[in-house]
């Protein structure tokens, strides 16, 4: 085993410190008894209990979850279709342009995405609110789904689709009976990614929101401007928990599938030998 040099230890501590110190502080202070955010006065869960009585926070959370569920689902459908088109139909006109355009939102500054969407919604006279936020979230999370699904499709053995056609399945049936089940784990990870991105988006939501549709990040941001309260710490801790849980589930699902496959393969070879 490689020895841990002093340099390595220091760099690991610094790295993780940078990443997690603020989060750890936030989580700790969410359990603070005192109303003063920076003074520790003992352990308590009273701020969590108080959350349940803060109707505006709960409303914001509900809006956020609805937006995230709806936009992640739509983005997954669209992103998967885009990935299929990009991988399968390699010879259509303007493919390079199309793929570039699908990926552009990945690197586009959020402010620009948000502003351009706002201009669009104003131009077409769409009332801003829940639906405009959802549309905006579909737009920017779709490309993430497309990237995830595309990387899976590149290693997809297309002869299994041909085999299905050969055995009498129509192209539509082939897609639902063969293609989709095989790429399902990638589609699912794409969905989780889109869901978490939508959950914690602030910039694009702020641009595209209207009266009556405030998402949780927006609510938190506006409250923080009046001073950080322990209540905010509590809601943020919950948010961190939800996102971490989602990512954890997604990675465990993929990991377990891999492990299962390896085990099965070993068993198969053992049976021959």
């Amino acid at each position: 085993m490689a020895k841990w040099s002093r340099f390595n230890i220091v760099s690991v501590i610094l790295g993780f410190g940078f990443l997690y110190l603020p989060i750890v502080l936030l989580v700790i202070f969410s359990f603070n008894e005192s109303k003063l955010v920076t003074v520790w006065a003992g352990f308590s869960t009273r701020w969590y209990a108080q959350l349940w009585h803060n109707q505006s926070l709960l409303d914001a959370a509900w809006v956020t979850i609805r937006v995230a569920l709806l936009s992640a689902t739509c983005a997954t459908v669209l992103g998967t279709l885009a990935a299929l088109a990009l991988v399968r139909y390699t010879r259509f006109r303007g493919r390079v342009l199309f793929s570039g355009m699908v990926y552009a939102p990945l690197v586009m500054p959020e402010v620009i995405t948000g502003l351009s969407l706002l201009l669009l919604f104003v131009a077409v006279g769409l009332d801003r609110g829940f639906w405009t936020i959802t549309l905006a979230h579909i737009t920017f999370t779709m490309c993430f789904v497309a990237v995830v699904v595309q990387s899976r499709l590149l290693s997809f053995d297309q002869s299994i689709e041909e085999a299905a056609l050969d055995l009498g399945a129509t192209p539509v049936r082939t897609f639902f009976a063969i293609t989709l089940p095989v790429i399902a784990p990638a589609v699912f990870s794409g969905w989780v990614l889109a869901f978490t991105l939508s959950l914690d988006d602030l910039v694009i939501s702020s641009f595209t929101t209207g009266p009556g549709a405030t998402t949780l990040p927006m609510k938190i941001y506006s409250q923080v401007r009046l001073g950080v309260t322990p209540e905010i710490n509590a809601i943020c801790t919950i948010l961190i928990g939800v996102v971490a849980f989602g990512v954890l589930v997604a990675s465990i699902v993929t990991k377990r599938r891999e492990l299962q496959r390896e085990r099965d393969e070993r068993a198969a070879f053992a049976a021959i030998g």
Partner: protein, 380 residues
């Protein structure tokens, strides 16, 4: 059960002008951009035939098969199957099934569901599906593995599942794309004979694509040797081997010695060729050749004798040389003999008698000779 031989010996529908072909390729051309994969190709395949498409990679044999399955459309020409023009018919409505080189098993389905997949598409009643699946599992001896997923099987077992799946719908024609390529040599040889038995038992038409000439020779009733999108020769394995119609086929199938030369005389079914190396050859041949024309004589190594004394008919059909290399293969020995003009002739002899010390050794002066019916005269 009848033995294969009793059926096969009398099976030759291609020689009977009254029999109608089951599959017909008529002037089929397939182009991918500038590349011509299949070039004005015409070919007939008959019912119950085991037909092999043989050629090096890129010769168009797989493209031909994929056009028959419906995955590619011909650029021009027609494909007729059982009297029906296949143009415009999608793969899922063709009465053919294919066994893929990669097996293409559905990874998320069990062996059972893989085999049942095609039957379900036809809307067959559940009970019938179960019965047919059980029957197919028995046929390929995989009853114990019905509930397994493809990745829980060995390569040979996967190959059997693929075979069972492609046979489950009882297609009129089974297409096999390099079906044994991924198996090791011993398993491959076993499976070749199993496939032949299966084809006879089920009475199906098989079209197989392969680059392995031994595989084609072993299994097929007829072989089409392909090169650059064209069929060079279509004939039985014996005809292909003993009477190749061109230098390409002679060279592609098995080992061969080719003597180039010019025709000296051609009469009474015999041709005399003066070879470049100065070996005068007389060969039985019905070819119409004119004096002075360029010709080549192809002779298989096992039809060349190696002796220490000059044969009686020398110098006709004989040449003196020196043993250059010896390859001992157990069942036979291969000699490379260098003639005086530097040409190396391959000769093989069966080791019919146990002899640890061969009388013929390295650097020995020997004669190579052959009979008048040993070789084939090819037009150049």
């Amino acid at each position: 059960m009848k033995s294969l031989g009793s059926i096969r010996r009398s099976f030759a529908p291609w020689a009977d002008p009254a029999s109608k072909p089951f599959i017909s390729f008529k002037n089929v051309t397939k182009k991918f951009g500038d590349f011509t994969a299949v070039d004005e190709l015409s070919l007939n395949i008959y019912t119950r035939e085991f037909f092999a498409l043989l050629g090096a990679s890129g010769c168009g044999k797989s493209t031909l098969l994929r056009m028959l399955a419906g995955f590619e459309q011909p650029t021009s020409g027609e494909i007729i199957l059982d009297g029906q023009n296949l143009a415009g018919i999608p793969p899922y409505r063709r009465p053919v099934n294919m066994m893929f080189q990669s097996y293409a098993l559905f990874p998320h389905m069990t062996v059972e569901s893989n085999i049942a997949f095609g039957l379900k598409q036809d809307g067959m009643p559940k009970a019938d599906i179960a019965e047919r699946v059980a029957q197919m599992l028995k046929l390929v001896k995989l009853e114990k593995f019905a509930k397994r997923k493809p990745h829980q099987l060995s390569g040979g077992q996967r190959q059997r599942v693929a075979l069972a799946r492609s046979l489950a719908k009882r297609p009129k024609v089974l297409l096999l794309d390099e079906p044994l390529g991924a198996l090791d040599k011993k398993l491959r040889e076993e499976t070749q004979f199993e496939l032949m038995d299966l084809q006879q038992q089920l009475g199906l038409t098989f079209v197989i694509v392969t680059h392995d000439q031994e595989e084609a020779m072993t299994m097929a009733d007829r072989i089409a040797v392909m090169s650059y999108g064209k069929v060079i020769q279509v004939a039985t394995p014996a005809e292909i081997y003993e009477a190749p119609n061109s230098r390409f086929v002679a060279d592609f199938i098995g080992d061969v010695n080719i003597f180039d030369g010019t025709v000296a005389t051609a009469e009474d079914g015999r041709v005399r060729v003066e070879t470049a190396g100065g070996v005068p050859i007389r060969m039985a041949s019905s070819q119409k050749l004119s004096t002075g024309a360029r010709a080549a004589v192809a002779i298989r190594p096992e039809k060349i004798r190696v002796t220490r004394q000059a044969p009686q008919h020398a110098p006709l059909n004989a040449a003196e040389g020196e043993i250059w290399d010896i390859g001992y293969l157990g069942d036979m020995t291969v000699f490379h003999i260098r003639l005086k003009d530097g040409k190396v002739v391959k000769a093989s002899s069966l080791n019919a008698v146990r002899a640890v010390e061969d009388p013929l050794g390295y650097d020995q002066q020997v004669w190579v000779s052959f009979g008048e019916d040993a070789g084939v005269v090819l037009k150049d």
